[in-house]
């Protein structure tokens, strides 16, 4: 190569980068996506207009968006909280399914008035999600086994358990389809009176506020933040890594469980074998986009909600395969990863010159014995 590409780690990260990054990422993804749209002879401007403008300016669009934002906020936090401690919860999808299973079971088998039943369903779902994370959390805290692969394996197991249950023990009695019975009306999530959106949004908002308060106003939040920034120094300062890790993993998993029952008690109405929302994985780019705070997580979740709702609109109206949403999601992650790199390194290119100063390896810059 004629050029010397020099990568110097940035000493200070200019604060404007923190704001520009999410926006630049989204713009870049939309740009690349438009190329993909063009490849199928779809006018990207038209598609985006439909996806964003129409979704946000019509009442039904707004309602759908807010409802769709609920599970996304929940899984976003499910990934965000462990991320604060530098853990990656890839298994939110599995915890979501666990929550869906138990929540549905409660809905189908427990007779209580709505005001008691729904909280119980959510409680059960949260506990289910938490339990689904218990083994990976234990393996991580006790043996250092990376939570990425363990939570991922549990996702696949959860998917199959759902499939088994709706074809067997939880199958609609007398039915032939791989699905559970419909949950009774008393267990369905009501709407906020007058607004037309699901009450789920209230739960999601409350949880976001709780997480925000915990991280920013409590000692536990402090411990989580320090552990995430430097776990060695945290441990040597008396902070219990066990406690921090277990808390963020289990709490995050519970939130994912909430997302699961939210879907069943909302749009789905029953547990189907085809219930495979994939939100658990969407939680990853949401948490990455919003890694600076709970509020940003909420905004990122809403953004993805717009994409999802808008995406199914353009599928219906323009015939664009809905997979474009998945593609857009993936592109956002891709550009986020790229941006992360440029955030930490400044790149400069120069013509190759013979330089003979400085240490050859990076190990010993401060001089040794």
């Amino acid at each position: 190569m004629l050029f010397d590409v020099e990568l110097t780690p940035r000493k200070e990260i200019p604060s404007w980068i923190g704001y520009i990054t999410p926006i630049a990422t989204i713009l870049a993804s939309l740009l690349v996506c438009s190329v993909i749209l063009l490849a199928l002879n779809v006018n990207p401007i038209k598609a985006y207009e439909m996806m964003f403008i129409q979704t946000l300016t019509t009442e039904s669009g707004l309602i759908f968006t807010i409802n769709k934002a609920v599970p996304l906020i929940l899984v976003g936090v499910a990934v965000y909280l462990p991320l604060k401690a530098q853990l990656l919860n890839i298994g939110a999808e599995g915890q979501l399914l666990a929550g869906a299973i138990v929540g549905t079971w409660i809905a189908l088998n427990v007779s209580l008035p709505t005001i008691l039943l729904i909280p119980l369903m959510f409680l059960g779902a949260g506990v289910a999600g938490l339990l689904w994370m218990a083994i990976p959390a234990l393996l991580r805290t006790r043996f250092g086994i990376n939570e990425i692969i363990t939570t991922l394996l549990f996702v696949f197991i959860a998917q199959r358990i759902v499939s088994y249950l709706v074809r067997g023990p939880m199958q609609q009695p007398g039915g032939n389809f791989p699905q559970s019975a419909s949950i009774p009306g008393v267990s369905q999530l009501p709407e906020v009176p007058g607004l037309g959106v699901s009450v789920g949004i209230l739960l999601a908002t409350v949880l976001i506020i709780c997480v925000y308060i915990i991280i920013n106003y409590t000692r536990l939040g402090y411990e989580i933040t320090v552990t995430g920034a430097n776990d060695r120094a945290a441990e040597k300062s008396g902070i219990s890594k066990y406690k921090v890790y277990l808390f963020v993993l289990l709490a995050g998993a519970a939130f994912a469980g909430f997302a699961g029952i939210n879907e069943i008690a909302g749009e789905e109405g029953r547990l189907r074998a085809s219930f495979n929302p994939g939100y658990g994985f969407t939680g990853i780019p949401i948490a990455l986009l919003g890694r600076n705070g709970a509020l940003q997580v909420m905004l990122a979740a809403i953004f993805f909600a717009v994409i999802f709702v808008g995406g199914s609109n353009i599928e219906t109206l323009l015939g664009v395969p809905s997979e474009i949403i998945g593609v857009l999601q993936a592109l956002i992650i891709l550009f986020l990863l790229t941006a992360e790199f440029f955030k930490n390194y400044s790149v400069s290119m120069s013509l190759k010159s013979a330089s003979k100063g400085g240490p050859r390896d990076n190990t010993d810059v401060e001089g040794g014995a």
């Binding site: 000493k11 200070e12 920013n216 106003y217 409590t218 000692r219 536990l220 939040g221 402090y222 933040t225 320090v226 920034a229 430097n230 060695r232 120094a233 945290a234 441990e235 040597k236 300062s237 008396g238 902070i239 219990s240 003979k356 100063g357 400085g358 240490p359 050859r360 390896d361 010993d364 810059v365 401060e366 001089g367 040794g368 014995a369």
Partner: protein, 555 residues
């Protein structure tokens, strides 16, 4: 320098930001000699040899090998010139066998592909096999292990290594692994072998075997440089020794002409009569009683072997020692950050052996760790976050679950004010890693000291800190002592130890080998003990008198 030098390093100067590692250092090594390179930590020994090995390039000066001037750009150049280096941390891949470790990177093809007359097995005529495409294929898609393996095994047998080169490295002991490192150098036809603190990880038996091997090598004409701080090693096997101190070359002497005291004096400098102007506070009750401590290092190797240590209220106990002899682990054990495998630790009379770090903190123990970035702070978090790292559970920062960042910020501002930490306009905006080394260290000290600890463990508190900050930190340590805190100070800087301590201990190979006071002790003697000099019997400990000319007399 004599003309039969094999390797000559002349007027080597090398600076890193903020420090002159080598200042016009010259050194020469004769063919077939074992040459020691002696000095304390920070003297510049490793840097000098890394320059020779091509890992660094000198700012000025020349290197000559057998008369030719060398241009070292990379370790490959050094290897080509016949220089080999055995590092302190072995560069071996445990999963692979000895022979695979040694041939790694050479891309030796199977013998079918070889073209040199003495190597080819002539199955395919060399006119065909030397075609570049075939050579390309051979070097990548085959593995020439047969011949090298037998060569390496022969080498190993020749030096009495008793290693089966098919053995995977993970099965080998530390001493055996070191021999593999030497084999690596030998296999590449080494003329000069550099060993960096080779006995740091060996038992005495293994060390003996190493010395035998080195002698054998010199009989074959290989020149050897040993970097070490251990005086007994210098005396046992070197022919000549070059001493460095604080980046400067002090001199080269014939080993037979000097004794350990001479060497220690060269390493450490002359005695200076000290003005001790700190107030003497009467010692109170013990705040730290460590008894018969045993502990392991990161790799599970025993590094503390029965340490007894007491620190009283209002006393500074300075522990002198060369890094690698256990002071890091001792400091961490005393602070409750590292567990001990045997022995006990009592703080203020309460036995809290192996209790949690939190427990130690609650019992009034503060800790300034050696590596401030890795262990002492969370770099990407603000000064405010870092200020309350030990104290955040305190009620003044909020009740119950709540953490009040406002009072944390004002506390941080107090710390900054008290300890003159510069470069901060807003404690909650500036990140810890944005502070200069000295200022960060002051912040950490502020945090650890201002919580009024009973015991303060400070490990290398002024390392890598600018001069102004060093003064400040030392004054504060004394002030803290005057307020009644017991301080355990680890330092490689003998000046610092002598300036600040009420009592001086020396640690060597995991044991406390010497105890004295600044008034009664001599820097030479301490320097000697730090490097494994003769440990005098108990009755003579602390009874060495100081003479102005650096001479030594014993009662």
């Amino acid at each position: 320098m004599s003309n039969d030098s094999f390797v000559e390093m002349k007027s080597i100067t090398k600076t890193f930001p903020g420090v002159v590692a080598n200042d016009d250092v010259s050194m020469s090594v004769k063919k077939g000699e074992i040459h020691g390179l002696l000095g304390e930590n920070g003297a510049g020994k490793s840097t000098l040899m890394k320059i020779l090995y091509g890992l660094y390039s000198a700012d000025s000066g020349t290197i000559r090998l057998d008369g030719d001037t060398l241009d070292m750009d990379s370790p490959q150049d050094a290897i080509d010139a016949g220089i080999g280096m055995v590092h302190q941390h072995f560069k071996l891949i445990p999963r692979l066998s000895v022979s695979k470790n040694i041939v790694l990177g050479k891309r030796e093809p199977m013998s079918v592909f070889k073209t040199e007359p003495d190597q080819t097995d002539e199955k395919i005529p060399s006119s065909i096999i030397s075609h570049p495409v075939l050579q390309w294929i051979g070097s990548r898609f085959t593995l020439g292990l047969e011949k090298p393996k037998s060569e390496i095994q022969a080498l190993a047998n020749e030096y009495g290594f008793d290693i089966d080169v098919s053995t995977p490295v993970w099965q080998l002991s530390v001493g055996e692994r070191q021999r593999v490192e030497i084999l690596k150098a030998l296999y590449r036809d080494v003329n000069l072998l550099i060993l960096d603190e080779p006995t740091a990880v060996l038992t005495s038996k293994e060390a003996e075997r190493l010395f035998e091997t080195l002698s054998k090598l010199t009989e074959e004409g290989v020149s050897i440089v040993i970097i070490t701080h251990k005086l007994d090693e210098i005396q046992s096997i070197t022919d000549r020794v070059t001493v460095l101190r604080e980046g400067e070359g002090i001199g080269t002497v014939k080993t037979a002409d000097v004794d350990r005291e001479d060497l220690a004096r060269m390493m450490v400098g002359r005695d200076v009569l000290l003005e001790i102007d700190s107030e003497q506070v009467p010692n109170g009750k013990p705040v730290l009683e460590a008894s018969n401590l045993y502990a392991d290092d990161e790799r599970g190797v025993e590094v503390l072997s029965g340490v007894d240590l007491t620190v009283h209220q209002g006393e500074i106990v300075g522990v002198a020692g060369v890094s690698g002899n256990g002071q890091l682990e001792l400091a961490e054990a005393a602070a409750g950050v590292r567990g001990v495998t045997d022995g006990s630790i009592a703080v203020n009379g309460k036995d809290i052996t192996n209790k949690s770090t939190r427990s130690f903190i609650n019992h009034g123990v503060s800790f300034v760790p050696e590596d401030r970035y890795l262990d002492g702070c969370a770099g990407e978090l603000s000064v405010m976050h870092n200020s309350i790292l030990k104290g955040y559970k305190n009620d003044r920062f909020g009740e119950g679950l709540r953490l009040d960042y406002d009072s944390s910020a004002s506390y941080a501002e107090e710390l900054v004010e008290e300890f003159d930490v510069r470069g901060i306009n807003d404690v909650s905006e500036i990140c810890a890693e944005e502070l200069s080394g000295g200022n960060l260290q002051k912040l950490i000290l502020a945090r650890e000291m201002l919580r009024d600890p009973d015991l303060l463990v400070a490990s290398q508190p002024t390392r890598g800190v600018d001069v102004g900050a060093i003064e400040f930190i030392r004054e504060r340590l004394l002030a803290q002592r005057d307020e009644g805190t017991g301080i355990l100070l680890m330092s490689e800087d003998l000046d610092e130890i002598f300036d600040l301590s009420d009592r001086v201990l020396v640690i060597y190979e995991g044991e406390i080998v010497h105890e004295t006071t600044p008034e009664e002790g001599s820097r030479q003697r301490v320097g000697l003990e730090m490097n494994g000099g003769e440990t005098v019997s108990d009755s003579a400990k602390g009874m060495t008198t100081v003479a102005a000319d650096g001479g030594r007399s014993e009662t």
